[in-house]
Symmetry: C2
């Protein structure tokens, strides 16, 4: 673990990364609100699910989409807020569950999309870290991810709390039993990625300005979120691709100068990365695996595959933090960003 | 226009870019099949639309999602093929229109997704350039984009033909009248981006290895496709962001060394880029606008906004071509790629 002194660059982000076993345990202990919301959603019997979010929360939305499609066997899509806000779409949303995810609950385009979705007949749910926010108040059902105040601009603990909240909301009772293992798996994952190990990975990438993060299935949202952390804190041009999409074009730009971080935790998503890793080897790419012990390890033993994303992002959070510090940057105060982003 | 001799680097791609006014006119002239398919779709009265694709076709899918949401007022989502192929999802797809888009019609994951969707009760439609392909044969309704053989690895004329086919398929009769203007708008856009002008833009970016392309609403698919062309042909780390998402984090990595191509054609999407352009100016980014005459012009006069994507990609195709040639590469034969990508 990275143990910077308070006030040093990255101290806030380091502290919030380290809090994650506790925030996950806290949300599990207070899961009554989520279970109640899950019952209300089930009673509405939605036939389609639309999920709206921006930034880090959009990666939580992508995770939720896989949970809905695979665990609930319902068709799902990510909403394009601009269809509502720029073009005034007012589709018939009868039988649709409309879920909006936002840490702050204050992005005007999401608040407006939520209002339109509700007026168009959707069952509306807000998942926020701010139960008094405009987004939470605009929804029929509001759930609080209970992550506590997040002070670093780069979201970490709110992301993993969003994933757990969405799992409990959408996967029903079976999720609770397995989710009880998450706080310990999170603690072991953080402990398994010690200061020296992450510093070595950060040193490898210190002078790199382009990087690719790739994963498939449940690990694709992790690849997207990991890339965003590297952009926000270390100013890398970090691109995320599903392993399949990577082979449909972007592979051309990869050579020995563009390292690839590959999500290869056990399970079907990791197995599906095998042909991608083979092609990357052929083109001479340098690959850092996240999952296996020989890369940045993930303590996934005993976790069903759909819970792994909640812990496998943590080595990437630590890497983004230490890489920023190694490059002389302050990951707590990325240039050009503020904690609440207002877009219309 | 770029007028390389046959056999020179980029000659195939240059020829196929130049063919686009004719491929669009040809598809309009033979639109009977599309109108028939549109009638069958309307008769099925779908309530939700799922669209599956990879690579360039995935950007056509994103365009189709906006058309469905805004023009047909139906909720829509992009399918994640891995939910079907890796995780065996078999959701209830009653009342769902499942649309798969592929130039070759041969990607195994799309063919398998199509079969599952059909078995799960969806109305299935394949949009391909290969009416005898496995994907076309697996669908209940198949439409041919009639773009002719595409020989360059980087797709150009099949992309714009896909957009037009999807418009005619999904937007009904009102599309036909406006679409008649497209061949001329395409010809004027190509003529407006002459060799000298594109060569000047290519010279500006010749030594760049990171670039961002941004657009909102209907122009966001264009930003995605433009970035892919730059990756495939010129090996740039080209990242596409919706203008809104750009402000939620990725903005941090942009400074004077990372140029931004901004889609700013007239209409609501271009207007919504204004606050994004203001922020980019504040952080010192170099911006190349696509749309206005002072950047790379788009002959959009008289076209409704939802038709503009069919022509506004063309300056980016020309830029990707000439930039690759300026960098000593052959855009017709990108390293690591072949014309048909097989992913599972």
């Amino acid at each position: 673990m990275y143990d910077e002194e308070p006030g040093m660059p990255g101290a806030l982000m380091a502290a919030e990364i380290a809090e994650q076993p506790d925030t996950l345990a806290g949300l599990l202990a207070a899961r009554g609100e989520l279970e109640d919301a899950a019952r209300r959603i089930a009673a509405a019997r939605p036939r389609f699910v639309l999920i709206a979010a921006r930034g880090t929360s959009d990666h939580a939305a992508l995770y939720a989409k896989y949970v809905v499609e695979i665990r609930r066997q319902l068709p799902a899509g990510l909403a394009s807020p601009s269809s509502f806000t720029l073009y005034g779409a007012a589709p018939d949303l009868t039988d649709v569950l409309f879920l909006a995810i936002s840490q702050s609950g204050r992005s005007p385009d999401l608040v407006e999309s939520m209002a339109v979705a509700r007026a168009c007949g959707a069952v509306t749910v807000a998942v926020t870290n701010s139960p008094d926010s405009p987004l939470a108040l605009a929804a029929e059902i509001s759930v609080d991810i209970r992550a506590g105040v997040e002070r670093a601009v780069a979201a970490t603990k709110t992301y993993t709390a969003q994933l757990l909240a969405l799992l409990l909301l959408l996967d029903g009772d079976s999720a609770v039993h397995d989710a009880a293992r998450l706080p310990e798996a999170a603690a072991r994952t953080l402990a398994g990625n010690g200061t020296e190990q992450i510093a070595a990975a950060a040193a490898r990438f210190r002078h790199v300005d382009r990087i690719v993060v790739s994963g498939r299935g449940y690990s694709y949202p992790t690849a997207r979120e990991g890339a965003l952390k590297l952009m926000e804190t270390s100013y890398l041009s970090a691109q995320a691709f599903s392993g399949a999409d990577l082979l449909h074009g972007p592979l051309a730009m990869i050579d020995g100068s563009v390292p690839v971080i590959a999500m290869t935790s056990p399970g079907r998503s990791g197995a599906a990365m095998k042909p991608v890793l083979d092609r990357l080897t052929e083109v001479g790419a340098e690959v850092l695996p996240v999952g296996p012990a020989r890369g940045l390890p993930v303590a996934a033993a005993g976790l069903p595959e759909h819970l792994v994303p909640i812990v496998e992002i943590m080595p990437l959070q630590l890497l983004a933090l230490q890489l920023a510090v190694a490059r002389g940057l302050d990951p707590d105060a990325p240039r050009g960003l503020s904690k609440i982003t207002q877009t219309r």
